[in-house]
Amino acid sequence: MGIDPFILDVVIYVLMGISVLSMVRVFAGPTPEDRLVGLNLVVAQVLGILVIIAVKFDRSIYLDVALVYAILGFIGILAIARYLGNDGGGE
């Protein structure tokens, strides 16, 4: 099951450039929810970078890092949305 490692490098570099473009929305968003949208995209793309690094170097420990990063990204977005004044829904 061999693949050219150059392809994995290309995917990693493209994901890095894309996440920098998402950080533009995080810095320039007019409302706080726009910044959260950009942050959600950055979490997804960094997760992809971690999984590809784990597959490329054949290190299984990076997958644990990726799983913890996914959980912490979700908890972080939930906490920031709660902090911004959304009191859990319902009147």
Binding site: V11, V14, L21, T31, V51, L78, G89
Partner: protein
């Protein structure tokens, strides 16, 4: 099998670029959220499926499957939380201005 890996990596890059263009160009929080949530999920699931096909049947595939299922559950929930917070703070949706 290698062809499937190439196709899924290409789909991941394609949908990732489309989602970022949508987030940068759309005019409103709700439209940006629509571009962001769908394209982030599709891009990341494609990349993780490519990694699973690349590793074959091994313990790493199980871990990647766990990450896939967790992200497939948590990302729409996060998008829904952001949209509901914006709606309850009184953000009105964007409408096309009438050309008089």
């Amino acid at each position: 099998m290698i062809l499937v890996v190439y196709i899924f990596f290409g789909m991941g890059i394609f949908f990732g670029i489309l989602g970022n263009v949508g987030v940068l160009k759309f005019p409103d929080i709700y439209t940006r959220l629509q571009a962001s949530s769908k394209c982030a999920v599709t891009s990341l699931i494609s990349i993780l499926l490519a990694c699973m096909f690349l590793k074959g049947l091994s313990p790493m595939t199980g871990k990647i499957l766990v990450i896939t299922v967790f992200f497939l559950v948590s990302s729409p929930v996060a998008s829904h939380i952001i949209a509901r917070g914006a709606w309850e703070r009184g953000t009105t949706p964007w409408r096309r201005r009438k050309s008089q």
